[in-house]
Subunit: 387 residues, 2 copies
C-alpha cells in the first residue's frame, strides 16, 4: 500500500498538516541573514506558552534524545546524586544517559503502565543525600502513562533545592504543562510528536534555577551547550546551522495552535483520549493504563484473545493504519495508538471503526458496532469537534 | 524582496532542487517501520562513493557541528595529544571542540586564505609525541581554501599511526575525496552544502582504524555515540528518531548525483570555480586564495576599492543575490560566493553579470563586460554545461 494512503497513528512521528508541509517547502535562506533572524525572533516568544513558561525555549537541531542529553550534561557533573523515575523505555533512557555521564542514579522503578506517585518520589528524596536533580517523564510514550509531573515538582520544591527536569517529548503541544507555576525547572521536547512537525528539532525550556546550575556547571560540552544557544538566541541566532525547513514549519505550527487556541488544543487531546478509551472498553479491549494515569496523547491496549502484532499487521496491510507495538519486554504484548498533534476526533471515529472490522476478523469476542457507538457517545458527551 | 526571488549563493545553506523539495514533501512514516528500514538500507551503500570509502557512512540528526563533535568524542580521551590545522573559522571550531574535551591540542595556525602544506604537518608531527589524531578541514568555508587533505593523510600514515580526521562539511558532494586510498580515517559532513538538502542531517564516514579507536574508547557519550549508530544501521535503523523528511530528500539527492555521475558533479564544481576566478580577475577583484589553494565550492574576494558589506547589501536588495561576508577578523574585509550543490555554470554567468552591474554603480575601476566575457570564455574552455 502506498504511503499516500497511510493513516499514521503511532505516538510519533505523526502526520504533518498540509499548511505546515507548504510552509516547510520553501527556498532555503542564509542562516546568518536578516530573514532567519526575523524568523527566530518571531518564533521565540510564541513557544513559551506551549511550555507554560516565561523563560526561554531553546531550539536545537537533533532528535528528542539530543535534548534529553542536553538536560543531563548541562545541569550535572560527574558524581552528582540524581533521582530518575523509570516506568518505561523513555524513563529508562533518561537513566541510561545519567549513568553514561557518571551520575549516582537513584532509580525509582515503577511498574510499566502505572504512574509514579508523589509519595514514591518523596520517600526516595528523603532517604538519601539531597539530589542535584529529579528526572521525570511527562508522557511515557512506551506505555501511554502521563506522570503527575506538576504535583511531583511542587512537592520536590517544598522539600528540597533539587532541580526538577521533565521529558515532555510526547506531551508538549498536546498536554498542558505549567512550568512556572509548578516549579518545574527544565522541560525538553521534540518536533515529531504533538508539535506536528517531522523529526529534527528538539526544544529545551529553561527556568531561572536551572540557568544557575547551567551557568556554574563546568562539565565539558559543545554542540549541546545551552549557554551558547541562549546567548545566540538573544541575538536572533542559533550557534550552529539550524534545520531551517523545520523552523519554517514551526512558525506555521504555532500559527495553527494560536488559531485553535492552546486550551482548545489540549481539550481536543483529552477528547480523543476519552473517545479511544470508551471504545476500547466497549470492544472488550483491556486498557493497559488506568483512567487517572492515562496520557491524552497515546493509548495502550493489552489484548488477551489475539496477538497484538497480528492486529497491527492486518491494520497496516488492509487499511494502511499504522499503530505502534510494545517496546522492550512489552514487545508483542501491547499495541499503542497515537492520537496527538494533527489528529482530531474524526480520526478517532475512523480508527475505531477500522479496529471493529479487524477485531471481528480476528474472532475477538465483542458485539459489532458497540465500539463505534461508544466512541460516538464519548464524542457527543465530550468537547465539541475541532472547528 | 520576497524569498521566492532569492538567488542564494552563500557557502551553505544552498538551494534545494525541485525534485528534492517534492521528495521531502511526503507524508510522515513510522521510524521503526518497514518503509523506514527500506529507505535506510537503500541510502547506506549509495553514500559510500560520495566519501570515497567502502566503510560505513553514518547519518546523524544534527548540524554539521554535531558530527565534528562526534568525531572528537568518539576517537579521543582526555589528555590525548592531537594536532589541529587552523586556517579559518572552521579549523578553529575543531580546535575549540578538542580543547573543550580536554585534549592537548597542538595547533598549526595557517594564515587565513592559505592552505596548510604537507611539510607543516610533518614538522609538527615529528616534533612532538605521536598524536592520537590529526584534525583537518577539507574546504575551509570561511576563506574558500581547499586543504590538501589526501596528501597530508598519505604523509601522516607514512610517519605515524595517528588517525586523520577531516571536516568535509562544505566539500563532500562537491569535491572528490578518496578516503580509502589516501588513508583518511574519518570524514564528517552536513546536509546543507554540496549535498543539496536543508540543514539537519550530519554524516560521519568511518574507516577501519577509526573503528578500532572508537570501539576501545571509554569516553562517555550517548547521542553522538557512533557505535550505537553503526549497530542500528546494520539493522536498517537509527538509534534515535531521524529527520525523516531530510532522509526522503537524501534518497532523491543521491539519485540526482547518480544520474549526473559523480565525476561529472565534481567537474561541474571545478568549472564553476574556474569561471568565477577568471571573471574576478577580469573585473580587477582581488582573489583571497591562490589558484592552487582555492576551493571548488566557494570563492572569496577581498575588495580594495569598495566596501564588501555595501556590495553584499546592494546585491541582496536589488537582485536578491545573497552572498556571504567574512567571519571573525575578516568580517567586512571579504565577501564569499558559494557555487556548490544545486548550482551550475548558468548560475555563475548570472551572478557575474549581476556583479558587473553593481561594481559599475560602486565606481569600481574595471571595463564593463570584461567580467562577462571572461566567465563565458572560461566556460567555453572548461567542461561542458550540466546536461
Amino acid at each position: 500500500m502506498k504511503r499516500e494512503w497511510d493513516l499514521l497513528h503511532t505516538p510519533g512521528p505523526t502526520p504533518i498538516p498540509p499548511s505546515v508541509e507548504r510552509a516547510m517547502n520553501q527556498p532555503m535562506i542564509g542562516h546568518r541573514g536578516q530573514k532567519c533572524k526575523e524568523l527566530l525572533k518571531d518564533i521565540a516568544p510564541r513557544l513559551k506558552p506551549v511550555f507554560g513558561t516565561s523563560g526561554e525555549v531553546l531550539v536545537l537541531t537533533g532528535s528528542g534524545t539530543s535534548a534529553l542529553e542536553a538536560a543531563v550534561v548541562n545541569t550535572t557533573q560527574p558524581g552528582d546524586e540524581v533521582i530518575v523515575v523509570v516506568a518505561g523505555a523513555f524513563g529508562d533512557r533518561f537513566a541510561q544517559i545519567c549513568e553514561t555521564y557518571e551520575l549516582n542514579v537513584h532509580r525509582i522503578d515503577v511498574e510499566w503502565g502505572k504512574a509514579v506517585t508523589v509519595e514514591q518520589v518523596e520517600s526516595v528524596l528523603q532517604s538519601a543525600e539531597e539530589p542535584k536533580a529529579v528526572f521525570l517523564t511527562h508522557c511515557e510514550t512506551s506505555t501511554g502513562v502521563m506522570h503527575p509531573v506538576e504535583k511531583v515538582a511542587e512537592r520536590v520544591k517544598q522539600l528540597s533545592d533539587s532541580l526538577v527536569i521533565v521529558d515532555g517529548v510526547s506531551s508538549i503541544g498536546g498536554a498542558k504543562i505549567d512550568m512556572d507555576r509548578s516549579g518545574i525547572d527544565l522541560v525538553v521536547s521534540g518536533s515529531q510528536k504533538a508539535m506536528m512537525l517531522p523529526p529534527g528539532l528538539a526544544f529545551v525550556a529553561v527556568g531561572d534555577q536551572a540557568w544557575e546550575a547551567i551557568n556554574q556547571n563546568e562539565r565539558p560540552r559543545f554542540y549541546l551547550d545551552l549557554k551558547t544557544y541562549n546567548k545566540r538566541l538573544s541575538e536572533g541566532q542559533t550557534p550552529f546551522t539550524p534545520a531551517l525547513s523545520l523552523l519554517f514549519g514551526l512558525d506555521e505550527v504555532l500559527r495553527l495552535m494560536e488559531e485553535e487556541g492552546l486550551e482548545q488544543v489540549f481539550e481536543r487531546h483529552q477528547t480523543m483520549k476519552a473517545m479511544t478509551r470508551a471504545a476500547a472498553e466497549a470492544m472488550n479491549l483491556p486498557l493497559l493504563v488506568s483512567e487517572e494515569d492515562a496520557s491524552s496523547t497515546v493509548t495502550s491496549i493489552k489484548p488477551t484473545t489475539f496477538d497484538a502484532e497480528e492486529l497491527r499487521k492486518t491494520a497496516n496491510e488492509e487499511f494502511g493504519l499504522i499503530l505502534a507495538g510494545g517496546q522492550k519486554h512489552m514487545k508483542g504484548e501491547i499495541f499503542r495508538i497515537g492520537h496527538m498533534g494533527y489528529s482530531r476526533p474524526a480520526d478517532v471515529l475512523r480508527y475505531i471503526s477500522i479496529l471493529e472490522v479487524i477485531l471481528k476478523r480476528l474472532g475477538h469476542p465483542f458485539e459489532s458496532g458497540k465500539g463505534s457507538a461508544a466512541v460516538q457517545e464519548a464524542y457527543l458527551n465530550g468537547i465539541k469537534e475541532l472547528k
